[in-house]
Amino acid sequence: MIRSRIWIVATTAVVMVAATAGTGCKKHQFDPFPASGAVADWQKTSDTRTFAAKDLWQYIDGDAEQYISAGVVSTSTSDYKYQNQLEATVDVHTMGDAAGARKILETGTSDAKPIQLGDAGVAYAQSVIFRKGPYLVRIVAYESTPGTPQALLALAHGVEAKL
């Protein structure tokens, strides 16, 4: 009986320690994605998926190589919706260093509009791309409306604040 109680107490202690450790890990886990409502009118509509460099082809086959050659370590992605209408995808590429993020950003087209975000950024009618340290963030909307650029920029600021 006593031995049984000791066993239960010991097991409970181990479980509590493990749970605490797990919580600690989660607190420090990298999560650049704003939760639903954290940015006005934006809802996070999918789970975050993360791909290591070697698996990036599963997400962006064909595009992956340019990120790999720039030193990508991993890519995380999540879908969002603005005012329950405008759909968008946020990709956060964690590069090996800031130079890798710079290399990708510099491949933009000449019609890009520079924006003050992170270390550098550009905006188009339906997308925002910026870098901050080793992070390269690309936010793309699937529809062009008059309010799209402003909405994307707000979401981009929300992501930037979490990097």
Binding site: G62, D111, A112, S127
Partner: protein
């Protein structure tokens, strides 16, 4: 402009050849005519580019009725049959399982449009193909959803699911550089014939992705075929017998495209050719698609794909004697624009 006599001659030849394929189907797919035999018979490969400038409405959305009408026009031009149902009966064996290989890799915004898939499915059913014998597929459910499709495994309805459900063969196959290729079971076991429904895109490595490149979606590890601008990977993969024999007709989606920055969705480089590109010769189709991208790049002042170091060399490779997949020489392509 072509004379009426020339038009009748070419459309009749196309219909005759498709009729030959249909006859071969009655003998079983193993007895199918090889593409080279078809080329030998005609001397030219026919490619139809059908356009409708009003395909997208003012809201930027595709008009589904116009998509169906455009499909009918493309198929009529290719087969010489104005009645869509009769035309489709010459393209597919109606008592077999017909796969529709779409492309949702680029994600929402630059994937094969559901409106085209639905239009093809509608005509297939009218031609006599049972709904359960139509299987729309790609790599994963996510890819199919990117096309705007809903997953369904109900055998009594049009089936829509990916290789993430059906799996890949354990036994690898090979051709040339394409070694250790594990093919999708949907291709090897479930479909008797596959209609190829790619979407036209610029491609960061290959230069262009369209008909032949869409076959990367039928293998477990397509990234292993990426070396040297996917050349000769694309051509070698298309030479694998089951790919070559079952994937026989392409209805290419060039309604929306990216002329740079592909294969992912880059709205800043998006354009609407409002076209379907239809044919059997996958090399001639890709050559035609490539030139369409080059014209757009020139129009917006961009350098050629060769100028940026990524010409689609795999197209010429596919046409060489070692591969013999079709023609890339314009002299051997009968391009019909309607």
């Amino acid at each position: 402009m072509k004379s009426r006599r020339e038009f009748i001659k070419t459309t009749a030849t196309g219909a005759l050849l498709l009729g030959s394929s249909a006859a071969a189907d009655k003998l079983g797919l193993a007895a199918m005519l090889d593409q080279n035999a078809r080329h030998a018979a005609t001397g030219k490969s026919k490619v139809v580019v059908a356009r409708d400038a009003a395909l997208h409405g003012q809201d930027g959305q595709l008009d589904e009725k116009r998509v169906l009408a455009l499909l009918d026009r493309a198929i009529a031009a290719y087969t010489g049959h104005d009645k869509p149902v009769e035309a489709w009966k010459r393209i597919v064996p109606v008592d077999k399982v017909i796969g529709l290989k779409v492309n949702g890799l680029g994600g929402k915004g630059i994937s094969t449009h559901a409106a085209l898939v639905m239009a093809v499915c509608e005509r297939l059913q009218q031609a006599g193909v049972k709904p359960g014998n139509i299987l729309v597929w790609d790599r994963t459910a996510r890819d199919l959803q990117a096309c705007g499709l809903t997953i369904s495994t109900d055998p009594n309805h049009i089936r829509v699911y990916g290789s993430d459900v059906a799996g890949f063969e354990d036994q690898p196959v090979a051709f040339g550089s394409a070694v250790n290729v594990k093919l999708a079971k949907i291709l090897t076991r479930e479909c008797d014939m596959v209609l190829n429904l790619p979407i036209l895109k610029d491609h960061e490595m290959a230069g262009v992705t369209f008909s032949m490149k869409n076959m990367f979606g039928v293998v477990k590890h397509p990234n292993e075929l990426h070396a040297d601008g996917c050349n000769p990977g694309v051509a070698d993969l298309n030479c694998i017998p089951v790919v070559r024999q079952k994937v026989r007709f392409t209805i290419g989606d060039a309604m929306t495209s990216v002329y740079d920055g592909g294969p992912g969705f880059h709205p800043e480089r998006l354009w609407q050719p409002n076209a379907l590109i239809v044919g059997e010769d996958r090399v001639a189709l890709d050559h035609t698609a490539w030139k369409m991208i080059e014209r757009k790049r020139a129009e917006v002042g961009m350098p050629t794909l060769e100028g940026v170091g990524r010409p689609p060399l795999y197209i010429a490779t596919a046409a060489d004697p070692a591969h013999g997949l079709g023609y890339n020489d314009p002299q051997h392509i009968h391009l019909l624009e309607v």
